[in-house]
Amino acid sequence: MKTLTGIGAMIRVALRRDRIQLPLWIILTGGFLAVAVPTWKGVVQTEEDLRAAIELFAVNPAARLFGIASGGESIGEFVMLEAFATLSIVAGLMSFLLVVRHTRKNEDTRRAELIGSSVVGRHAGLAAALILAVFANVLLATAIAIVLIANGLAVTGSIAMSLGVAGVGISIAGVAAVTAQVYSTSRSASGMAGAVLAAMFVLSGAGNMLGRYDEATVWVHSAWPSWLSPIGWGQQMRPFAENDWWLLGLSVAFFLVLSMAAFWLATRRDFGMGLLPEKPGPARAAPGLVNPFGLVWRLQRGVFFGWAIGMVAFGVIYGSISGEIEGFMAESETARELFEVIGGTEVMLDAFIVAITGIIGMLLGVYILQVTLRMRREEADGQAEALLATALSRCRWMASYIFNALLGVTLLLFIISLSAGLVAGLVLGDTAHWLGEITAATVVYLPALMVLAGVVVAVFAFLPQKTAMIGWSVFAISVICGPIIGDMLDLPEAVLNLSPFTHIPQMPAESFNAAPLLIMLGVALGLFILGLIFFRRRNLSLNSG
């Protein structure tokens, strides 16, 4: 095994490089579950609640896209339904980013060249990355299992579920090991591994959607596409119900086969190259690219289309559930109380719309941050320097980010309104009414999102190095003190008022009120102007030189 010489040292280097990143993935995932599981337990306190909640998602094919209960009616199965797909995607992201970081990325940055010239075997780097990926997934599974068991869920089921998540993680690690050999840049290698992860999600979801619900046994029989996906294998283990351990073997075998394939492919290519050459792009710029607004759009359109697809899917599910929401609330006392707190109304459908639009409205703050924080990244990395040394003024440069963020988020608000409104119209009848109702409830979030963009722009002008940190903190505080979590935590009024989201009229439960929206619009504009003026007056803050 000469090709593995030096693997110990490689693992130590990789562990040291990831000493912050890896624990963060695991702690954040565990922390998310530690907050979410008690909340879910709060929603389904009685057997009737549980059955009603599980049925709500089981009868609706669109809702099955995001997951299925294992079968049966325990709280563990409800957690499976709510969390398994999300946790799988987290494990998948962590794994492929890790493998690409320690393989192809090393070659991109020429770090591997330095290492490769020392006493290190040809396969040591890849093997170290794969071992680290397995290790990370085992840690992640341990963290998940501990949180589940600590919350009183069945021990066997908790272990089965967490190993199911790890199974998805290592499967994707195997995929990334192969894409890292096939593609010649870490961007492409990660992009393809991410696409495979998305395909796994879609396959498992499609299998569940095409499956059949057996009302007597409260059991979703998934169709064949589920069996083509590691996420599907995890779900078909049916943790908390049947605990079919042999399905874990499929993930392990998948991982081993792909790893072997990656080792073989690594011997068939040159160092620093992929099996596939990078696809050439256009030699000339399209007319739409050569202005600052077009450039930002181009840099950022992939993120936008990802969100747009997500918004359409979320809208379809949310619209299609609206038909069953009244029945569900009639059966489940606790859910009704929860929605009354969040929605502030006893009209369940209205409360449901308030809750869902609130989640969407706040979630889109992430998109605002993704666009506006790019300003800081381009400044620190140096692209902004090259642009601002041309006849492009700082005001136009900054304005192009503001316009992109606001235009993008407005489009996303309308996309989800359209998809949810049309589907709700199909289910409930009277499309025009529901379309109007949902659109109004969603689009009113725009001024609060503008305030968030304004905060980032202003911070960027005054404290550039702290932009990302302050931006994300302000967003987190706004969400925690916002309408849903803030109401559930029963925070005092003064604290709730800190969040711009609190001041959004909760339509349709509340009536439209222009005053707070106009004030927020004014605040946002003020922050934009402040940012534009003071960015013009400061030094560029570059990382180098």
Binding site: G281, P282, R284, A285, V290, Q383, E385, L387, A391, N539
Partner: protein, 311 residues
């Protein structure tokens, strides 16, 4: 297109970053139509000066005039008349080189399509490759093509040849000369003496934020000295009495010194008497020039950069 008088006039320029004094009463003047070398070890303040000229950084004191305007206040209108090649260019990994050339050219106010094609050909750049896959030298070429394809009055270039292979450095020099022949002015910041020597009419040397020397190459003749290391069978004597020998260090059969170009012949004739076993000669590194000429140690932070010169 030549601008008579000073294209760049800097006097008493001060720039601080927190407590560090990056530029300390720095002076420089660049005349219209010349190629002006801006020489100094890394960290001496070259990039800071160029960024102040571009209005990217704000000066803390002193006067700066660029193309007759104020680089901070008139940034946008001045940028139409100049092209900038940054040190270690960072580009957008998912745009192609060709797209970036068009983008930068257009934002600067347009580029000459014929020249663009010619430059891409001459620099052997594949414009269809994504910037993320370019080596540093190729990224440098993208910035150079974008700059030379614009007809501007002034080129500001910060370490433009780093990462280019020797053949491409020759191509680069050709285009700098062409720009000067067309009446443009070039400010060429570098720590590579050979570039400056080959191209520049006049130069300014910066060290620790101060201008330590400025003038034509002939005036700064000591910069073109040759460093000689010699070993012989017989003990070497009499070197210290020869004209044009500087910074001499020797023991019995070994000597190291700098020699003026016009004294090389005399010195070699003298050395032959001692039965030479080995002889090395090279241009002195910036670091050695500074040490030899100013008789004090360089701050340690600057040595790493300066040592690249001796390659």
């Amino acid at each position: 297109m030549g601008t008579p008088g000073n294209v760049i006039k800097i006097s008493g320029l001060v720039k601080r970053f927190g407590k560090t004094l990056a530029l300390d009463e720095f002076n420089m003047s660049v005349q219209g139509g010349e190629v002006h070398g801006f020489l100094g070890p890394n960290g001496a303040g070259k990039s800071t000066t160029v960024r102040i000229l571009l209005g990217l950084l704000r000066r803390d004191g002193g006067e700066v005039k660029l193309l007759g305007g104020d680089p901070w206040r008139d940034a946008v209108s001045l940028h139409r008349r100049l092209a900038y090649v940054p040190d270690d260019v960072k580009l957008w990994p998912n745009l192609t080189g060709g797209e970036v050339i068009d983008l930068l050219g257009r934002l600067r106010g347009g580029l000459n399509p014929g020249r663009r094609a010619e430059l891409i050909e001459r620099f052997k750049l594949d414009p269809t490759k994504k910037c993320g896959t370019y080596s540093r030298g190729n990224r440098q070429k993208v910035a150079l093509v974008a700059a030379f394809a614009s007809d501007v009055e002034l080129y500001l270039m910060d370490e433009p040849t780093t990462g280019l292979d020797p053949l491409m450095v020759l191509t680069f020099r050709e285009y700098v000369k062409q720009a000067r022949d067309n009446g443009s002015t070039v400010l060429l910041s570098s720590h590579i003496f050979a570039d400056v020597e080959a191209l520049c009419d006049r130069l300014t040397i910066i060290r620790s934020g101060k201008c330590v020397q400025a003038g034509t190459l002939a005036e700064l003749r000591h910069l073109t000295r040759t460093k000689v290391h010699v070993e012989s069978e017989k003990p070497i004597t009499g070197l210290d009495r020869l004209q044009g020998v500087h910074a001499l260090e020797q023991n019995e059969n070994e000597a190291e010194f700098h020699v003026d170009v016009d004294a090389i012949d005399d010195v070699l004739r003298h050395l032959v008497n001692f039965k030479i076993k080995a002889l090395y000669s090279a241009p002195p590194s910036l670091e050695e020039i500074f040490m030899g000429h100013y008789g004090e140690e360089m701050p340690s932070g600057e040595q790493t950069g300066a040592s690249e010169v001796s390659k």
